[in-house]
């Protein structure tokens, strides 16, 4: 079985500074993976490359079956091909209701004239309700997203991602600024999501990663330093030096 996402030897530098250095990475179709690494390790830049925001100087990014060359696609095409992304800073459309946020994200036709004629169907309403249930925002559907708490916004963003029904979910620091209870809910959400798709989670918080209970990739200075279970990588002396030892 080939991997869902195959990143091969990518490098990118910003003004001579190598943010990603000959990085290779693979993830299978139904896998949960955590990426950890110190600040500036290149975790966000890695996601930028996969989602088309940043073009690498060299390397290959292949996705899906049949394989697509993501480097030839635009951001919106990559998203439609099945890559969903949650940003480090929660970004939901604050001026719009929770319902509208989710409805926009549903995996329907996204071209302007189709959207112009769009009429919400029973089925879509059902999906929105189910999603709201899943992310714990059933009671907030008609509230403006801007009024939600920080944690709720993070969930709404995860809901937006799930609504897109992506094959691969990239999640950048989902637990930042969350209370303990909120973190637990978030872990559950991500683990459930990974039952039917690939999920990559970038996170600093070790407890959070432990609860995810999945394979861990450690990034450092733009390349993979170690890979394996959390216990395995935390026992690695290189990892201890650059990350845990501080």
């Amino acid at each position: 079985m080939s991997a869902l996402l195959e990143v091969t030897s990518i490098s990118v530098s910003f003004d001579g500074f190598k943010a990603i250095n000959n990085l290779s990475f693979e993830i299978g179709g139904q896998e949960l993976r955590a990426i950890i690494g110190p600040n500036g390790a290149g975790k966000t830049t890695f996601m930028d490359i996969v989602t088309g925001k940043t073009r690498p100087d060299e390397g290959r990014v292949r996705f899906g079956e049949p394989q697509l060359d993501l480097l030839r696609l635009s951001e919106s095409q990559i998203a439609r091909a099945g890559v969903g992304r949650k940003f480090q800073r929660p970004t939901v459309f604050e001026a719009q209701s929770v319902r509208d946020n989710l409805t926009m994200a549903l995996s329907n036709d996204r071209l302007p004239f189709a959207v112009l004629r769009y009429k919400p169907s029973k089925e879509d309403d059902g999906r929105v309700s189910a999603l709201a249930e899943e992310i714990g925002l059933s009671g907030e559907l008609d509230r403006t997203a801007g009024e939600l708490s920080h944690g709720q916004k993070q969930w709404l963003e995860i809901g937006i991602l799930l609504a897109q029904e992506p094959k691969l979910l990239l999640v950048d620091e989902p637990a930042a600024g969350m209370t303990l209870g909120e973190r637990e809910h978030t872990t559950d959400l991500l683990r459930r999501a990974a039952e039917t798709r690939a999920v990559v989670v970038v996170e600093h918080d070790m407890e959070f990663v432990r609860r995810l209970d999945c394979k861990v990739t450690v990034l450092h200075e733009g390349s993979v330093l170690a890979e394996g279970t959390l216990d395995h990588v935390t026992a690695n002396s290189d990892v201890i030096d650059v990350y845990l030892g501080r």
Binding site: K53, E75, A79, F93, Q96, T103, M104, V115, Y118
Partner: protein, 390 residues
């Protein structure tokens, strides 16, 4: 749960109702059809104001909802005016020429007629040939089509180039100003084929309707403008009320985010830019027959900037705000600059409103920006909400 446009946006019904009431009352009071209380010249001012309200709606759609601060929509407005103006001027000149040639021994040949029309229209710019851009000027249907096609295509090509290169924000505004300036400078040239700085004139005279008095013609144009504004408002309200409206608001608020949700942002911008250019062009095609004359100065870059000011004063992103802004500012402007506002003698200096109106407008803009950032429409919303709460 499907709900009708009016249920989702009750303000649409209110707006259409008020517009219909206003139109009926003015028509009854007009010289053309009614009691003659409202003068023909004032009917023309009102009719033109309705056209300006229509282009303001276009501006609100593109800027207030989609976040594209276009400072070039008056170029489309002017082009619409030019396209209809060509037919009006050509046909009327043709009628005059035929009438004056009919006194001769032999009936005039088509060549003679064409030549005489050419001399009549293009004599002022030292030409006699009818330029190729006037090829369709003999056909009302063709020129009406061009009202939509020429500005629509210009917007499509310009937008495609600009959006594809991801030009946004202030750079895009500057680019639209450059387009407007280039068009206006081009039209100023005598060999542009559109009579240079003379522009097109006599547009208030409708060919074939020379017997009909201006009071009646102006009343019809007033009605047509009201209808166009009503329809334009409905189209705009429909566009912004559903999911499409949510997507363009999302583009305005966070373009990158909605792109990562899989929406082709550039295609949306192009649709909105072109649609609003066409609305602006239709507004222009109704405006200039009421103004009677169009010349390249109308397309000056500053006009498009004023348009943004109207919408900002009226309040962005609420459609009726744009109408309030455009109507208030343009009516005040014609009052102040039309010589009706009494000058204020201060002894050492006389405040002459023709000059000082601009200052007043500038101050008004600053005050609104500082104290009512959501514009007059925003104040309005607050009142309505207070009512609903009490």
């Amino acid at each position: 749960m499907e709900r009708s446009l009016f249920a989702r946006q009750p303000s649409v019904l209110v707006f259409i109702g008020l517009l219909a009431l206003f139109t009926i009352v003015i028509t009854i009071l007009s010289e053309g059809f009614g009691l003659g209380i409202v003068s023909t010249s004032f009917i023309k001012i009102l009719g033109k104001t309705l056209c300006l309200c229509l282009i303001a709606i276009a501006m609100d759609l593109v800027w207030g909802y989609c976040g594209i601060l276009s400072l070039g929509h008056f170029a489309f407005f002017g082009l619409g005016g030019y396209m209809i103006g060509m037919w009006l001027m050509y046909e009327r000149t043709k009628d005059i020429v035929i009438a004056s040639l009919s006194g001769g021994e032999l009936p005039a040949t088509p060549e003679e007629i064409t030549e005489a029309i050419g001399t009549q229209i293009f004599g002022v710019v030292g030409g006699a040939e009818i330029p190729v851009v006037w090829y369709f000027a003999d056909s009302l249907f063709a020129q009406l089509l061009l009202v939509v096609l020429v500005p629509g295509l210009l917007a499509l090509v310009f937008g495609w180039l600009a959006f594809r290169s991801r030009v946004t924000g202030v750079y895009l505004s500057i680019l639209t100003q450059a387009m407007t300036l280039a068009l206006s400078l081009y039209l100023f040239q005598n060999d542009s084929g559109l009579r240079g700085n003379n522009g097109l004139s006599g547009l208030q005279n409708i060919p074939g309707l020379t017997e009909v008095s201006q009071s009646v013609v102006s009343a019809w144009f007033f009605l047509a403008s009201a209808l166009a504004l009503g329809l334009g408002y409905l189209v705009a309200a429909w566009v912004v009320s559903g999911k499409f409206g949510n997507v363009i608001r999302a583009i305005r608020d966070d373009e990158a985010r909605i792109r990562f949700m899989g929406y082709p942002v550039e295609a949306y911008k192009l649709v909105v830019f072109t649609l609003t250019a066409v609305i602006a062009a239709i507004a222009g095609a109704l405006y200039y027959p009421q103004a009677g004359i169009i010349n390249p100065a109308e397309i000056a870059p500053i006009a498009s900037i004023y348009l943004a000011v109207w919408v900002a004063i009226g309040g962005r992103g609420r459609l009726y705000g744009a109408v309030i802004g455009a109507a208030t500012v343009s009516l005040l402007s014609s009052w102040f600059t039309g010589g009706q506002a009494p000058s204020i003698p201060l002894g050492f200096y006389t405040i002459d409103w023709v000059d000082w109106w601009q200052v007043l407008l500038g101050l008004g803009f600053v005050l609104v920006t500082l104290f009512a950032p959501k514009g007059i429409g925003g104040l309005f919303d607050r009142l309505v909400r207070k009512d609903a709460a009490s």
